[in-house]
Chain length 797, copies 2
Amino acid sequence: MTDAVADTASPVTDEELAALDAHWRAANYLAAGQIYLMGNPLLTEPLRPEHIKPRLLGHWGTSPGLTFVYTHLNRVIKGRGLDAMCVWGPGHGGPAVLAGAWLDGSYAEKYPDVSRDGQGMARLFRQFSFPGGVPSHVAPETPGSIHEGGELGYSLAHGYGAALDNPDLLVACVIGDGEAETGPLAAAWHSNKFLDPVYDGAVLPILHLNGYKIANPTVLARLPEPELDALLRGHGHEPLYVTCEDGDEPEWAHRAMAAAMDTAVERIALIQRAVREEGAAERPRWPLIVLRTPKGWTGPAEVDGLPVAGTWRSHQVPLPAVRENHEHLRQLEVWLRSYRPEELFDADGRPRPPVLACVPDGDRRLGATPHANGGQLLRELPLPPLERYAVAVDKPGGTLHEPTRVLGALLEAVMEATAQRRDFRVVGPDETASNRLQDLYKATSKAWQAEVLPTDENLGRHGRVMEILSEHTCQGWLEGYLLTGRHGLFSSYEAFAHIVDSMVNQHIKWLKSARALPWRAPIASLNYLLTSHVWRQDHNGFSHQDPGFVDHVLNKSPQIVRVYLPPDANTLLSVADHVLRSRDYVNVVVAGKQPCFDWLTLDEARAHCARGAGIWEWAGTETAYGEPQVVLACAGDVPTQEVLAAAQLLRTHLPELAVRVVNVVDMARLMPERVHPHGMPDAEFDALFPPDKPVIFAYHGYPWLIHRLAYRRAVHPQLHVRGYKEEGTTTTPFDMVVRNDLDRYRLVMDVIDRVPGLAVSAAAVRQSMADVRTRHQAWIRQHGTDLPEVADWTWTG
Amino acid sequence: MTDAVADTASPVTDEELAALDAHWRAANYLAAGQIYLMGNPLLTEPLRPEHIKPRLLGHWGTSPGLTFVYTHLNRVIKGRGLDAMCVWGPGHGGPAVLAGAWLDGSYAEKYPDVSRDGQGMARLFRQFSFPGGVPSHVAPETPGSIHEGGELGYSLAHGYGAALDNPDLLVACVIGDGEAETGPLAAAWHSNKFLDPVYDGAVLPILHLNGYKIANPTVLARLPEPELDALLRGHGHEPLYVTCEDGDEPEWAHRAMAAAMDTAVERIALIQRAVREEGAAERPRWPLIVLRTPKGWTGPAEVDGLPVAGTWRSHQVPLPAVRENHEHLRQLEVWLRSYRPEELFDADGRPRPPVLACVPDGDRRLGATPHANGGQLLRELPLPPLERYAVAVDKPGGTLHEPTRVLGALLEAVMEATAQRRDFRVVGPDETASNRLQDLYKATSKAWQAEVLPTDENLGRHGRVMEILSEHTCQGWLEGYLLTGRHGLFSSYEAFAHIVDSMVNQHIKWLKSARALPWRAPIASLNYLLTSHVWRQDHNGFSHQDPGFVDHVLNKSPQIVRVYLPPDANTLLSVADHVLRSRDYVNVVVAGKQPCFDWLTLDEARAHCARGAGIWEWAGTETAYGEPQVVLACAGDVPTQEVLAAAQLLRTHLPELAVRVVNVVDMARLMPERVHPHGMPDAEFDALFPPDKPVIFAYHGYPWLIHRLAYRRAVHPQLHVRGYKEEGTTTTPFDMVVRNDLDRYRLVMDVIDRVPGLAVSAAAVRQSMADVRTRHQAWIRQHGTDLPEVADWTWTG
């Protein structure tokens, strides 16, 4: 133990120390028991192979550090009456957090059969990582958690998201030294430049250096102290160090940790008081605790002649062969008994009073805080009537609007309506204005706690738009914010949503599991606005062209994922209204920011969005001729424009052809109803897409997605899809659709190629279409702009 | 100018200063010219609207900082005869780097029509961001580049990848302060704990703080100096500061930058000498330059009454309306003439001698270095005969091996054979041994420059296995390594490959564009080994289950992407041999690390992999009966085992049924040949999968991928796919396949349901299969293990 903090006077009495140690030992016993035991939970008899689980699974290495933190958070919460929660970054140490929740009684409240007694302990042990039981990580099933600990990197951003607009909340966030090597975690350190000391709560990072990952030392644990200290100060923190070594008396460790926790909590209170009551304007240097402990602390020191505690070998199951190997079994018994379970639990397996002395009451318990079951705190978002923001549409295509700018006015109203409640945020990587949502700044500002210069615009200490050039941090903030019971929107360049592919995976998995738990209240959906999309990367070109986030999301649980491609401003408003009211979904909305024709009135938009897909009779010609001969389908704003232009060309050049135009807003409508809750029954689908008629489908993204959604439909053999096929560069909007064969002229050629009989009768029309495409190539090379007939095109019906 | 470095004596003469400034002015002129001009490139006449491009695209803001760095890199390379390259993180400032390459003559060598004279200058200007021209970012088309500047975050990892095993190379890496906010960049700072000062070259990060992103200040630019300094020292660097303000005389700026460059290069030389010649063992503190400049430096100070230079408003096109607005046109002319082009270029548009005084010669030019066209330096990888590593297979399924462990022995041999050449590396996030590749440590160690403790294993200063718990950093290192002409492999948990979804997008786009450039030599493929896959997450459960990386990659250019699912050890060897020899691809290999039956001998494996998909006659029964009545297809190790077990069940219970077993290794074989170069002609496909016979396809990943690949095949209406459908937790291997309806019993039921007539005649067999599945549910809840008949199953033919 070499540490400044340990030398400071600690207010911990010997009795309190003993009780803290009892809680910690109990939690360690319970953690190890979960990994190993399926019988004899209280060790009332000698340990025998049949008491041991047949498959030993889980992660011991990080667990004793987590139990240590749990114990000391209990102490400081109870002692000071704090409103606190904890994000467990090394959440693969699930047994530790489950032990804490079982001890604080919250576990039995959620799962009455896992009661806080011997029978419940037996169940707690058996169910862990057992088929049909509970996951090995901290997970939705874990009371008090908002953070799955399986994929590392997101704890700190989650912690900050939880603290935003929760001024009285302390969010402790344990960061493993493995996790600290990840990019998302490394980026999240800068979150403290966005945390408002007035309206937001505090985040207390606890950097847990146990020295090892699966098979390697960690970088941070092997930095010389001054280098680590510089790094953490460079991240804007005042570090407090607690260093525990294997030979230390536990009393030393408890005293040091208690002192560090007290200091941290007191400094936070001072900071908040200085800002809130005394108007301090300087960005605070928030405290941070560096907790250095051995990995696998208190576990077997040596197994089969190799060191285990204090090394990477304790990462998972330190004694791997307990059922077969007598020496391992013996070591396990010695290890388990080293916690002196008989002192900790009574004969019925109930924790004795000293074990529970540090545990706070009621909702203050880490396992019971409503902040970690955010749906309990969720209020309806005050959404204004859409009529106020809708664009007037006298006739389809008569006017142009930037859809996201129209949405911006709606979001401004939501921001305004939540000015007092402060439960709505918009996050994005430096693109809110670029994405045309700048009306938001009439109602709020961009959160910013660092230096402000006179030329800056729209920065503010209390702002609720959050911009940092890290999609990971944006996503992590928003997830943390939603999981603690608030609302929000993530606006991103379409292509770069892929940066958070793996994060959204985990969030979807979280929601799927959470929805199966009756005690978890529904939370607000995670809403993406993907704009600056593939078709309009005039400045940026190929690197910014990827519409595949939709494909990625549609691989996940259909109960959770929803994808919308509104084709104009009013449909975007209707979709936004819907997704902002929804619960427990991940909604992906793809919409352009460039001027786009207005096709539908608000009422029409609402009706169309409610159906999710429908015939635009005014755009086709089938009513004049009865049954359609061909269906032109579209999804997305640019494909819709090209399809309407193609329909107009067909009306002019092939006036006898009966064309149906179908627009799809809700992509899941294309799936069978047995596959996705929004799926369309076959009869309805066949009415929209007659099985024997060719369909030319112009889709916003990768064309095969449409096949993947519709492959079971009767019309599928007749389905021909155009979309983005990775042909791009910095070029004009029309050249982009030509390069990808999504342009109006190509679509007309497709119709001629596929409607029986037209290949011959309409050969001249087909040739004239091909000629325009050739003319385009020459024109653009010379002028760098689109053909006048395309640039000036309007819908004439 | 407030700066320590500027005060140090500088060896720059006034004449040299003037020449440096001439180069910088010329580059700035050329950068601005590219954004604006399509006529009058030398300003030989007054600027008129028709000289201006119709669409003004590109990013001016970062460009003058990049030209400044280009000038000073030229100086230090030429003055000291350095072997150097540069990674341009803010690569959206494409005009700057194109200007540098045009000035150093490398551009005209690659593109002779863009000659270093007036005609070439006119072409350089016109082509920029022009349809059919060159991209707006630094891109494959840019000489001297290995880094696309569109998606931010990867420069530093690319820089380190380039420096590995290039002991004489200096890799300068410009990091924008926007990019510095991203997670991948933030993680990459720790790369210096892995850089070997003996066998690796040096990376000189140049942190360019121009203060703004698209619409916001940057975090790093607004940190107080001591906080920034602590952060950079915490990242292991000795920072050198160069601070340029708008009012500074350019001579000041040049003097400060030249001094900082000299100091940095000298410190690097000292470090390398100390380690290489004097055996210094301490991890070096590498220099780093902090270059603070105004954004849009030297551009218009004010436009329409608002400040532009020095603010975010200069991010893209500072004078946006030059064609229409006379005042903008006038300002542009003043701006362009401020560089005094007549002093810089002769009447023919050739740069005058002082402009080129700093430019190095030949391959030392930044635009000409072969390191940035790595294929030029690439050597064949010495791959040993596979026979040495193949497992003996007397009969199918007679033995079990861990496929990745078998692969590990092959990789060991490759590592051994490249011990002197040092042009092969294996990267992975702390999982090389977990993924069973630990034989590698017989030939090398894990690169590690930080503290080493006695208990550590396999760490070494010169190791060529690279492990850091950041998939982003692993990917960035490997990309940089491959792009500079070396070989490698990335081994990762399957689910977490999604972390680099967006990075692999950019790499695939890079390769697609690079292959269209005759002057870019092919590079080694980027090879992924995805293991610890979805079906075997016994310890980790749902969060670690995602087989969708394959889906993600298959959305990209078919010229570039290849996906292999070898079903056993020998097929994995054959696939590995193939992908390690290949060029310009992204190869994704999915293979398990758990014991797996050996199905094929090496010769059979080679033949099978060469076909990519084929009938396993020994596994089916069709030869006994002629035409198959059903095809059982499989792709992936676990599905293959389930399909063979199903085939065995069918052989036992329905001996009259003619079953064909088809295994697919190369997923692209399922696609039509017109879609993917590996696509199978329809006739061949129909021979494998008779169009009128039902196919039960057991696939490793999301089942709809198979539909997306095969939707145009005649058999498609008969195709029934089983795969992972997001049902998972911590459970047994067999329970996983049952939860996802991929198990042998379900497959037999599928056969019975789909082969005409069997529903009735085999109803009892179907019921018995359903009964086993029910029995499984009860057994696993009680025992936590798989049914003995499953756990002990072997293939008996």
